[in-house]
Assembly symmetry: D2
Homo-oligomer: 291 residues x 4
């Protein structure tokens, strides 16, 4: 008989709840934990156990997943009192799905493995919808054998898993791709701005792009909102700018000049300096078109 | 009974032949002309008449299409001996599908309309395949009433027609979109270069991009070739650089700063200066990664 | 006995008047002409002859100097009715001190030499004060033998003469140096802006610069005015931007990438787009510090 | 009778030796210290006392100056065993002339003042020659009253003293000015490169610049060497690039976009990536002209 391993899940935010729910539905015995316990109730209702501390989750489960909101909480869950580290013993498996910076990942990886545990970084691409539908893209890195062992769970959560190398590579990949995304965004802004000033209709520009070689989901989704001036935050501009800046710094470290990333960084900085840091990153359009 | 208007077609290159063929198949009476007459034979075999001069085509057809390779030949067909202009009389309709610069379009438009003719610019997006399958995207501009009259023919040639405004707007739209494309290309180059120097696999970067918000046909098609160093020209780098430069100049005229376009222009210039002008525009990758 | 050659001078603007005056004082027999004749009176009072047309000046003088305000008037003086060209015969010497673009210089040079005349381009660096004091810098190009022949007159006008090569080289040199100047200006703007936002006093920054390796007359003169917001035009921003743009285009022609010039061009464009085209070029500071 | 205060001097490198020598010549009782004691001999010969530890210097002198080579040694002198901090008691005066980063300055300032001491940062502009001749420029910051007290000694060392504000402002000022310098350098490189490719002589360009508004000591000194390909390090390129990068980061912190600084950073990065990090910063010319 096929017995499924027990899975712990730390962090019942929007993403964590969606993922834990899918794991329960798929038949895994799931134990959840969250800083504010009431957020665990929906999963308890679906049949999950609720633990009092991360330590307890790690001690009682075969593998523990975590999805926290930022480096501070990712570290707190691991290094805090009754945290993950307190429960790690030889062979314990820890998979961190949080999107954090490379240094944070490496610090957690080092601590877990120093205690005999096994570590996998696995930031995901995709938001609530894909999380509910198991359509996430998973950027894993760390111990490859562990990735293979948890792939059955990843198959429940995502449509595709990458294994990218040593711990930190997942964070680095997100940085690189976000940097390319940031440049593509400013490129569209410049195109819309110059085109409209030259007498073309903004909508025509978007539609022509949609029919051609550079059509992308981002251009399709953001373009029309940009023309309407709708910059409700999906991915805040200050985070986009930070990613571009960090990518430029990465280029500094590895000896790669990146003039376009550097220029895009300055465009996002100009937008941030004019108070758009908490708007969607597409709000750079307002700055580009109105120098 | 529905009688189809007679259609002339000047220029039996790859694109012209494909388009004229579709018009014949759709039941239009077609007369073709080409500078070297032997290229007209395939269409004669399909039932087209073959004329001796552009003038003859214009005189004998209800509407004349032209698709030439560059501004020089676009002008030659119109202004040359026994050219289009010689055949234009009041109400004659001329539709130029060539991809040329705005000044060229406006010069031809002015000459045709000064002679009493009617003019439509209609550069197309898409290459041989889409031309054969009637899947082109048509960027028309000039006389809107004429666009409506020839729409039945455009429906045979393309999947979508835009009407963009005054003659020249089609050329301008291509410039703007190509400029955004050029920036997107350099963005990918910088991402691939920094990512690989930071230990990520180039292929992983491409695959992660493919699954996300900035996936585009261009990234899908060019990316793998770039990693292999295959820069066989599809769109020559020198043309891409010229378009980015002209777009920057357009920004100069209309008062739109474009720092990313300006930076991309310099990257393409660096690539051109190192002898890659006739390679595919993706060859800028070789310059970006190896400063 | 040493007889000085007769000198014609076309254009009695501020610069022309100052230079003609010095030539008279140095003992040259001078004939002047100006479109509005009353501007010739000061020189008549100093002993100059006054001619009715440029043609007359050329016909009656050994060598003719001209200093006009822009390409349009430079061309008018040469190609207009009773213009310079009408008076040119074999061996006639024409020295154009106007600051115009390379194409204009080459067009005039070609016309003069085609008529058997001899041509020297000689734009000057320096304004009214240096002109009155014979402290101009003269950037000559064209026929080197002619430069040697007129050097005694240049010695009256300037502190230093350069001979730079074929006609057009003087204009080109001005372009290159103005481009470097434009970048230096934006560099100071960025330094003042970031420094002050980081708590340094603007004046301290200027004073520290003054004591160090990058002290320059421009930084010394413009810096304090920039801090006071005094942008009274000395060299209009729109002309500075045009020069940077033309230098970038020159880089395009000769295969030289210039990312800083390209970025500076966009900064000046942003300033121009916000209505500062007629202010001094240092007004780019207002745009840089207030994104 | 006027009794001069006793002065300690830590660090007998080229700069420290020159400065201590001047203080002795000016009649101050000087006590010196250096990690390797033999370097103290020249000053002993001139009449200085030699101490065994920084602590001893601080304990026995009214005011202690230090000039170390980098942040690591600046910190070691203060925080190491028998270091400055061990000797600091209420009212002790410490003046650090080392060129280090802002964080290092602030860390040392905090430690000194927490122990009751008084602190002044005073990095200097100028190298061996100006140090020997008392022609340094002194960028002081920290406690203003202390600056006034040590001004008699600064008058012996430099031609001009600035007081810039809180500790760290001196380091920040050097960053800002070095950033402007870096941009000016790349500007010259682009000008020389495009000008020569367009047929102008490099030397002519330098000479014309020398006669005009942007003439500067740096252009005068470095320009001719750059044309000769002499890039013997005076200020290493990797340090110049680091300063530009840090200035761009400072812009990030204070909300100041700096597109030219960002572009210059990439040019210096390209030069560093091609192995010129240890050459003079003017070696960026080799990269600019040869894309």
């Amino acid at each position: 008989m096929d017995t499924k391993p027990s899975v712990g899940y730390l962090g019942m935010g929007i993403m964590g709840t969606a993922m834990a729910g899918r794991l329960i539905d798929a038949g895994f015995p799931v134990t959840v934990w969250n800083r504010s316990k009431d957020k665990c109730e929906p999963m308890r209702a679906k049949g999950a156990k609720v633990a009092d501390t991360p330590q307890e989750v790690v001690e009682t489960c075969d593998v523990t997943f975590a999805c926290t909101s930022d480096p501070t909480s990712a570290r707190a869950v691991v290094f805090g009192q009754n945290g993950v580290l307190a429960g790690i013993t030889a062979g314990k498996r820890y998979v961190d799905l949080s999107t954090v910076d490379e240094e944070c990942v490496q610090e957690i990886a080092a601590a877990i493995t120093a205690s005999g545990g096994r570590f996998l970084e696995a930031p995901v691409s995709g938001s609530k919808g894909p999380a509910l539908n198991g359509q996430l893209v998973i950027l894993s890195a760390g111990e490859e054998a562990l990735q293979k062992e948890v792939q059955p769970m990843f198959d429940v959560l995502g449509k595709r898993t990458f294994f990218l190398g040593e711990a930190g590579a997942g964070a680095r990949m997100k940085l690189v791709v976000n940097m390319v995304m940031g440049i593509n965004m400013v490129a569209l802004c410049e195109g819309l701005a110059v085109g409209q000033k030259a007498g073309l209709a903004g909508n025509d520009i978007l539609e022509v792009i949609k029919e051609g070689a550079i059509a992308s989901p981002m251009y399709g989704l953001k373009g029309p909102k940009m023309l309407e001036g709708d910059f409700a935050p999906n991915f805040p501009l200050k985070h986009q700018q930070k990613d571009v800046r960090l990518a430029v710094d990465l280029g500094d470290k590895v000896g790669q000049p990146m003039p376009l990333a550097a220029a895009a960084n300055e465009s996002f900085k100009a937008a941030r300096a004019s108070g758009k840091g908490d708007d969607d990153f597409s709000a750079v359009y307002a700055t580009v078109k109105q120098p």
